[in-house]
């Protein structure tokens, strides 16, 4: 009988302790591509959120509650990502951070929407904010905003009459390809080679050879990181001489590391870059990230960091953990870097969850992406 009493008391104590712990924490689901072709993006995104979570908790958490993050690996598989978003929400997640790959986000954002859970994503496919989902928010501009900034470079700086497009045939690549092709048509620049490749493709000999044969004035490269690196390696191998210009990924630190010398001279328009150290917030972020993870961050790490901090800032504006109210405040919101330093740059979200902020033109020089120009937000 004593034993039964003891067990009952222990169980009650544990339940109370568990409830007290739950009351002191707020759960967030971090769902990213930690393995598979998207691993370079996903692991950086995760590490950005880890750094932010540490800082947020050290700063008193969100509304006084410590942030408890559950990390999930999508294996770069859209269906797995959908199941994991559901699992995180079933476990009580107040917000979702991720995914990065657009193909996954397109599938899993419906789950967050159905549950009125705010979701910060690293994806850049235009379609993500065109589906009328009020709970999805970008952490960098979509291709339909970023690529028009880039296209003037082809017209004004390069004075190109012809271009080639090398793109990866997934949701991310297709979105960027369509926007770029439409922009080229508008500017009267002829697309003389349009070369699609597959996600995870390893051999780019045929792709590069087709572009080389078409001899455009410049080539727009729109692929994920590993594919970009393999493309650059093959381009150097075959002696491709025309400028290689990308949006976001082409000059990323991981791409430069993987491609080595082959990345030299590559140019890209980037919404965020760790090389923009003239921006104080980014310089500080890079220092902290390097100290913690012993490597240079990519733009995905900055995106994860911003997504996590935006969750704190906006929740505290709302004053309660309410997904609907969060969503209402987010639409049309601007967070300036002076009042909200962890946003790093002045950032606004429109009524669709699309974001605007200043962006950069960068070029790989001496193994590093250097900022060669700043583009104002559009």
């Amino acid at each position: 009988m004593k034993l039964v009493k003891l067990l009952a008391i222990s169980a009650t104590a544990m339940a109370i302790a568990g409830a007290a712990h739950a009351a002191d924490t707020v759960k967030v689901g971090m769902i990213a591509e930690l393995s598979g072709p998207g691993a370079p993006s996903g692991t950086n995104w995760r590490d950005g959120t880890r750094l932010a979570t540490e800082e947020i908790n050290a700063d008193g958490g969100i509304l006084g509650k410590q942030v408890e993050v559950s990390e999930f690996d999508t294996q770069t598989d859209p269906q797995t990502s959908r199941a994991l978003v559901q699992k995180a929400i079933d476990d009580g997640a107040y917000a979702i951070w991720g995914t990065v790959y657009s193909g996954s986000t397109m599938v899993n954002m419906l789950v967050a929407q159905q549950n009125s859970v705010p979701q910060f994503v690293g994806s850049e496919a235009p379609a993500i904010v065109q589906k009328g989902n009020p709970f999805v928010f970008r952490t960098s501009s979509g291709a339909q905003k970023g690529i028009p900034d880039l296209t003037s470079y082809f017209k004004r700086t390069l004075d190109a009459k012809t271009v080639g497009i090398a793109w990866v045939n997934n949701e991310f690549g297709k979105g960027g390809h369509d926007v770029f092709a439409a922009q080229m048509e508008k500017l009267g620049i002829k697309v003389v080679a349009d070369v699609a490749s597959e996600q995870g493709q390893t051999d780019y000999a045929a792709d590069v050879s087709k572009l080389k044969e078409a001899a455009p004035a410049a080539i727009f490269v729109y692929m994920n990181q590993e594919e970009s690196a393999r493309f650059l390696i093959e381009a150097k191998k075959q002696g491709l001489t025309m400028p290689l210009i990308g949006e976001v990924t082409l000059t990323e630190a991981k791409v430069v590391e993987l491609a080595g010398d082959a990345a030299e001279g590559a140019i890209a328009h980037v919404g965020l870059t760790a090389s923009a150290t003239s921006v104080p917030g980014i310089a500080e972020f890079v220092t902290k990230f390097e100290a913690k993870f012993n490597r240079h961050p990519t733009h995905d790490a900055i995106k994860g960091y911003i997504g996590a901090w935006a969750t704190k800032y906006v929740t505290e504006m709302v004053g309660k953990f309410d997904g609907e109210a969060f969503s209402n405040v987010m639409h049309g919101l601007c967070l300036d870097a002076k009042s909200y330093p962890h946003m790093l740059l002045d950032t606004c979200w429109d009524e669709h969850g699309e974001m605007s902020r200043p962006s950069f033109m960068v070029q790989v020089t001496g193994g590093k992406a250097e900022v060669i120009g700043i583009v104002n937000s559009n």
Binding site: L34, S35, G36, A39, P40, T43, N169, V195, A196, S197, E198, T202, D203, A205, A206, D207, S209, K210, K212, E213, E226, A229, R230, I233, E234, K236, K237, Q238, G239, K254, E257, L258, A259, G260, D261, A262
Partner: protein, 292 residues
């Protein structure tokens, strides 16, 4: 013309590396009568041995390559035979084939666990310059890859056909019982086949990883294509594996350039089906009878 030459050369260079891996399939088939489904991972792993040597042990590249080659021969040759093949082979070919599938998963996940899921840069073995040949600009790296891979195949063929040990290996593969009666140490010959397979895997790894980048999942595609190359060329002939590898490498590039890039991944499978229907023993293979 320039494009055709470059595409052919790239196809031959990649195909010759597929051939090295495919030859490994035929060697293991002939010596252990099993299909090594970890063959792709055998090619993935040596690149990481090189990275450990260069990054952790700070060895120069040339020494790292030698050390990695030696480690590969020991781990994927001797240990594979002693720890996986010998204990399971008495139970039959199918359990051993399944064991190699498990080994493939084990190797892949181990590399992912210890080295991470991200791709790693791998230093090129040859200069990435271009040559002007009759007005066509072609890659020096591709030429070097092709020459080295073909040289390895030629040396291996000469070893198997022109040396006493090589002929003993062939005898042991064709009829182990008779070879034993003739005084050949069959167990040693089988061990040699595993050692050669390990060395081929390492060399293929060193040649292909500068382009593919070092990644835990590299073996999946490589293993599948090389397996198909071995079947297409003839599973029981080294020259068949060579022909199969080159054929797939060239056809893949020609299809992607002149027909469609979208279905290039399907090409080896289509080729496999056609060969199995028309010439099941492979293009250069010989028919083998088996009692059931």
């Amino acid at each position: 013309m320039s494009q055709f030459l470059q595409v052919m050369l790239s196809g031959l260079a990649t195909g010759s590396i597929y051939a090295l891996v495919a030859i490994g399939f035929t060697l293991i088939w002939q010596s252990a009568k099993t299909v090594n489904f970890a063959q792709g991972e055998f090619v993935m792993l040596p690149a990481f041995f090189v990275l450990v040597c260069t990054k952790v042990l700070a060895l120069p590249l040339w020494l790292a390559l030698i050390v990695a080659l030696a480690v590969t021969v020991v781990v994927l040759g001797v240990l594979f035979k002693k720890l996986v093949v010998e204990p399971i082979l008495p139970s039959g070919g199918i359990p051993l084939t399944i064991a190699t599938m498990a080994l493939a998963i084990f190797l892949k996940e181990s590399v992912k666990e210890f080295y991470g899921a991200e791709a790693q840069p791998f230093p090129p073995l040859f200069p990435s310059q271009t040559l002007n040949v009759f007005g066509a600009v072609i890659s020096l790296q591709d030429i070097c890859n092709l020459v080295v891979a073909l040289a390895i195949v030629v040396v291996l063929t000469l070893f198997l056909n022109r040396t006493r040990t090589g002929r003993c290996m062939q005898a042991a593969a064709q009829n182990p019982a008779v070879a034993e009666i003739l005084g050949i140490n069959v167990r040693r010959m089988v061990l040699y086949a595993f050692l050669i397979n390990g060395a081929l895997a390492a060399l293929a790894s060193f040649l292909i990883t500068p382009v593919y980048l070092a990644k835990f999942s590299n073996g999946e595609v490589l293993g599948l294509i090389a397996f198909i190359a071995a079947i297409v060329g003839g599973f029981n002939q080294i020259r068949g594996a060579l022909a199969g590898g080159l054929l797939i490498g060239v056809l893949d590039n020609l299809t992607a350039t002149y027909v469609t890039a979208e279905y290039r991944a399907a090409l080896p499978l289509v080729l496999l089906i056609v060969v199995i229907l028309v010439r099941p023993q492979g293009l250069l293979g010989t028919s083998e009878g088996r009692a059931v």
